[in-house]
């Protein structure tokens, strides 16, 4: 104990009570934000590698519902972080105008790292919310910018955690001087309550029981053609005529150039399989549905490509980032990887990918290619 009655080891925490910042508040919020950004980063990386798998990575098809969980968590955690981040910045804002602004080289470096940290954190949450609201007030491509900013922000977060870990530990262990603990608790409880309100207000698109309360959900469960929401319509993808063309043929191409062309009637004549699989969107909503169609592996067998390791699924769409997607390894061979003809016992709606669409376990929704024109085995 020191002469002032404050344990010596909390000197770090004591050092800045004078600058108007209640260190325990900053520490608790920092801890919560560290966890939230950690969860968002991990689930975001998962989403990224599923959509852009590096050559050494084969996305696992199982568990089938994993992506709806990780992506639902990504969006919900990011949403929950909004009040926490604003509360944290509010608590530490007296330091923004501290004088002198830079007291030493190290202090200067630490403050410099706050710019990418604060700018990056605010940008990540803002751009995430905007993307779910389909608001794009910028020229860059959201996923690429969000992904790049995430690395920069997490790097700055690591610098910040390094600089503050000791003080955070000290502040969480011992009550520091400052406002009464009751006010501290109620402030933190208020921030947590606001997080809860935002999560409930947005999560209804993937947790149906919350839907009546989810005044800001991007989707309503059961709303859409055949009771399932739609991300891109046939009209928006400019495939209406091609999809309705009676001359439509699904073309399957083997690695040696073998080809098979199947009409809709040919496809219906093949063995049909059923699977209940979710559509899980990067924007956080997801919905399970019952699909019926032809196994991709059965179609590949017709061109001698039963053992194919990579299959490119191409849409009737002429352009667009998601006009084609890859199936790899176990995804190709999974018994539930289907070219679906039916949804909920009826032929697919045009907006769900008529005449046939890909539906496979564990994939982000944008990779469940609709209006499939060709399967190309490599």
């Amino acid at each position: 104990m020191t002469a002032t009655g404050v344990p010596a080891s909390s000197a770090l925490a004591r050092g800045d009570a004078a600058d108007g910042v209640d260190t325990p508040r900053a520490a608790w919020l920092g801890l919560a934000l560290g966890v939230a950004f950690g969860v968002c980063f991990a689930t975001g990386l998962w989403s990224h590698v599923l959509q852009h798998p590096p050559s050494w990575f084969t996305p696992p098809p199982r568990p089938a519902g994993l992506y709806r969980v990780t992506q639902g968590l990504h969006v919900a955690t990011g949403t929950a972080a909004i009040p926490l981040l604003l509360a944290k910045l509010w608590v530490v804002h007296p330091r923004l105008t501290a004088w002198p602004p830079v007291r030493s080289a190290l202090h200067g470096v630490e403050r410099l790292a706050l710019l990418p940290l604060v700018g990056g954190a605010v940008f990540l949450l803002l751009s995430g919310v905007a993307n779910v609201a389909r608001w794009y007030p910028w020229g860059f491509y959201f996923p690429a910018a969000h992904y790049g900013a995430a690395w920069i922000t997490v790097g700055a977060l690591v610098v910040h955690i390094g600089a503050k870990a000791a003080a955070t530990r000290a502040a969480l262990r011992r009550p520091a001087p400052g406002p009464p603990a009751g006010d501290r608790r109620s402030f933190l409880a208020g921030a947590a309550a606001a997080s809860g309100v935002l999560v409930v207000a947005t999560a209804g698109g993937t947790v149906p029981v919350l839907s009546p309360l989810s005044v800001l959900a991007q989707r309503r469960p059961g709303q859409g053609p055949q009771g399932l929401p739609v991300n891109k319509t046939a009209a928006a993808a400019r495939v209406v005529d091609a999809a309705r063309d009676p001359a439509y043929r699904l073309v399957v191409v083997g690695p040696g150039g073998e080809r098979a062309a199947l009409s809709l009637a040919d496809l219906r004549a093949l063995p049909q399989h059923e699977a209940t699989l979710p559509i899980a969107c990067v924007e956080g909503w997801s919905a399970s549905a019952s699909w019926r169609g032809v196994r991709v592996r059965d179609l590949l067998a017709r061109v001698g490509a039963a053992g194919a390791d990579v299959v490119v699924v191409e849409s009737l769409q002429r352009t667009g980032r998601y006009r084609a997607s890859d199936l790899r390894g176990a995804q190709v061979r999974d018994r539930d990887t289907l070219l679906a003809l039916d949804l909920g016992g009826e032929p697919l709606d045009l907006d769900h990918g008529f005449p046939v669409r890909l539906i496979a376990p564990g994939r982000p929704g944008v990779l469940q290619t609709k209006w499939v024109a060709r399967l190309v085995a490599r």
Binding site: W90, S104, L106, E110, W135, F140, G155, G190, V215
Partner: protein
């Protein structure tokens, strides 16, 4: 140095974090066609600047105005409500503005994003106002429970009035020790250790009224929840006793908000305790 920064920790953080940042910058530059590096940099810096120079002062001004109109005890509740409404409004803004609406896809953004958030904000504001009013007025918790015991008044009263018996029949009380000389009389003090709603509480009761075989009143003024506990005993037919247990108090501080829940928990606990008391007294050897 800032008082909370550890130089060694910062060095470790820089060693680990800077490569991660550089990896991000490299990725942005390599993918320049999609990331528009110059525009992205403007957004990253702009996000910090707009937060610090616009949002922060606006929140500060609104908070200051609200704080001035709010009585001290209600501030924690009002602040929490305001933060929730503010956060909701921030997220609701792009939805309400209709930036993302798509005419051809009615399953996308299917709700009324002005009415819904406005209703939610109204509900939060109403709950906040009710809780704030309760906080300012103070909410009295007053829970009365009773039980009929198949033993004479004298026997029941003698057992229940002895505070050292409390740990036997109160589920929540772990120990009771005399802080004055026994037996129980007006002015007696007893120290209790109890658990309530997951928290360990140590408090002292003082007996303020005692009519043997009729009633006992004791009171505590400590802790966030000053309480008064009253036992009464009345003959109910031949050899039977009706005992009532009344707990009355006015929670202080933030505990006020939880008063209704606390009363419900207390009622459940008291019923259970009286049932236990009955079984102990009825089975006591005569």
């Amino acid at each position: 140095m800032n008082g909370t920064t550890s130089p060694r920790g910062l060095a470790v953080g820089l060693a680990l974090g800077v490569p991660v940042m550089l990896f991000g910058v490299r990725g942005v530059l390599l993918d320049a066609r999609d990331t528009h590096p110059a525009e992205l940099a403007r957004w990253l810096v702009g996000a910090a600047v707009v937060h610090d120079l616009v949002l922060l002062p606006v929140v500060g001004a609104l908070g200051w105005g609200l704080r001035r109109r709010t009585p001290d005890p209600a501030w924690p509740v009002v602040r929490a409500g305001a933060v929730a409404v503010g956060a909701l409004a921030l997220v609701a803004w792009p939805y309400a503005a209709g930036y993302g609406a798509s005419a051809g896809n009615p399953s996308l953004l299917p709700r009324d994003y002005v009415l819904g958030p406005a209703l939610a904000a109204g509900v939060i504001a109403a709950v906040t106002a009710i809780a704030a009013a309760a906080t300012v007025r103070g909410v009295e918790v007053d829970v009365v429970t009773d039980v009929v015991i198949d033993r004479p008044v004298g026997e029941v009263a003698a057992y229940a009035a002895d505070p050292t018996n409390a740990p036997e029949w109160y589920d929540n009380i772990d120990s009771a020790t005399w802080a004055s000389d026994p037996p129980v009389q007006v002015g007696s003090r007893v120290a209790f250790v109890a658990r309530f709603l997951g928290r360990r509480l140590a408090y002292a009761y003082e007996v303020v009224d005692l009519v043997p075989g009729e009633r006992l009143v004791m009171r505590t003024a400590q802790g966030p929840f000053p309480m008064e506990t009253t036992y009464t005993w009345r003959a109910e037919g031949e050899g039977r006793t009706r005992m009532t247990l009344r707990n009355r108090g006015r929670p202080a501080g933030f505990a006020r908000v939880g008063a209704p829940m606390m009363a419900a928990a207390m009622r459940r606990a008291n019923r259970r305790d009286l049932a236990k008391l009955r079984s102990i007294v009825e089975e006591a050897p005569c």
